[in-house]
Symmetry: C2
Subunit: 286 residues, 2 copies
């Protein structure tokens, strides 16, 4: 099932799922024995709706493998399932999933994926948000599960000045957990901070893809710039050093949310998937 | 301590508290033996910050006694405490309360109340919001604790047309739980529905005060109008009948939030409190 667009050969069809979840009650996306994860909860519900034997259930592939506590409003996944089972369940699948799934995860649509679609490798970009309250007298208990209560005022102009050095293609090794044989080169398309409402600052970060912990490490560094404890130029120094710096504190997980995943037009899905696979596995020379 | 503006006579001072809470984990505002309530949690934290012996701790009086599951972003309370204890704690009270209180309740300010201030009886109006998602493909798990997932589309024009009959002074007995010796006449100053974001409708309801369950009963009736199962004129018929109608379903508590309480200028606080007390206790003739 690893070749995009090919599952039909084995009597399978590939489905695309659009979904969201409150990460508070999950040990992240990826299945882990004995732990409640989004992947495991959805795979089981989908297996039951399709009347499949299991476990194991057909495995989901996801655009953004979120960590423990991270939320999603625009997550995308795919799964290959028997064509006959899908044909029987298609008309009622969303409604039945809505009843079977717990309230902290919602599947908004499920249907046949376009030819060549791969939720992970076809994606052009991922957009995350990070929500921070910087005024203690505006801390809203109702939003505490997706907002960092920072306690100090943030200077967003300073943060946006510092963020500029991250735009474009860079080796983000300073903000990533290094993995053998995987590149840490990424292209940041957008990174800014804005006041969403009184006392609430929201970062918007878009990149082709993110290394593990990259958004939270970048955010941690930018918060140090925003509260005045570091200079805007410090971020560029860290980036250029290309190695983890203990002065960069990884920001908490709960204010982070995967908002949207972008894909190319249908005709380009398979080519994008093939080229992404090649790039991710190549060690970066420059 | 029942006379507004008089606590100084007994070596006490009256404090005003501005606060908010996520009602999900509370059995409402009012203290009840053996249950976790907002009042009990705050009274204990405040007693400790002031170094008072207890329990019992000095009792809070609140502008809106919210039910189990109802939230607040603009709640106001007062409490009479020994003047010497307050003098010692005043400078650090907000910060110490922030550390002592659980994350689901925040006190944003606490300080000496203006002369004549009574959080309950001086109030001119209370404003509540009620948040409903009427599009199943836009149900956000992150907001499930303060949003009703209604499942059917709502026609806000119909609802606002129906809501018009509630404006002004009426006997809301049809939407209240009757209490002996208490009037059910209230003045609704504002009541409308608007789309706050895609798929999310928010009611704004402002009145001088509300009877028990009044906002939720009005909302339940308006939802029946909005989904087409009742006509806009039906709401006026219910209101005029002046008795509880089993066709009116009380809407769930968790999407309801006390947003703001309005008070008159300082010079009018005591007079307002005195006149409110008289009105509430009088049976209504008309």
């Amino acid at each position: 099932m690893d070749e995009p667009g090919q599952p039909e050969l084995a009597g399978l069809v590939r489905l695309r799922l659009d979904l969201g979840y409150d990460g508070s009650g999950f040990h992240g996306w990826a299945s882990q024995p004995g732990l409640r994860t989004v992947q495991q909860v959805i795979e089981e519900a989908l297996g039951r709706v399709l009347g499949l034997p299991g476990p194991p259930w057909p495995a989901l592939t996801v655009a953004g493998r979120t960590d423990s506590g991270v939320h999603a409003r625009g997550q995308v996944a795919h799964v290959d399932v028997p064509a006959d089972a899908w044909a029987q369940a298609a008309a009622v699948a969303v409604r039945r999933l809505g009843r079977l799934l717990p309230d902290d995860v919602r599947i908004w649509s499920i249907g046949l994926a376009e030819v060549g679609f791969d939720a992970r490798f076809s994606a052009l970009w991922r957009r995350y948000s990070y929500r921070v309250c910087d005024d203690p007298v505006l801390e809203d208990p109702l939003r505490r599960r997706d907002t960092l209560w920072y306690g100090r005022r943030l200077d967003l102009d300073r943060m946006n000045e510092a963020a500029g050095v991250c735009l474009g293609e860079h080796d983000f090794a300073a903000f990533c957990r290094r993995r053998e044989g995987a590149t840490t080169v990424r292209t940041v398309i957008w990174l800014d901070w804005a006041r969403a409402e009184p006392g609430v600052c929201v970062a918007t970060v878009t990149a082709d893809a993110f290394c593990h912990n990259m958004v939270r490490a970048l955010t941690g560094a930018l918060l140090s710039v925003g509260d005045g404890s570091r200079s805007p130029a410090w971020l560029g120094e860290i980036l250029e050093a290309r190695r983890r710096d203990p002065a960069v504190r990884v920001a908490p997980a709960h204010p982070l949310c995967l908002e949207e995943v972008g894909y190319p037009p249908a005709a380009d899905l398979a080519a994008r998937a093939a080229s992404t696979r090649r790039m991710r596995e190549l060690p970066h020379a420059g």
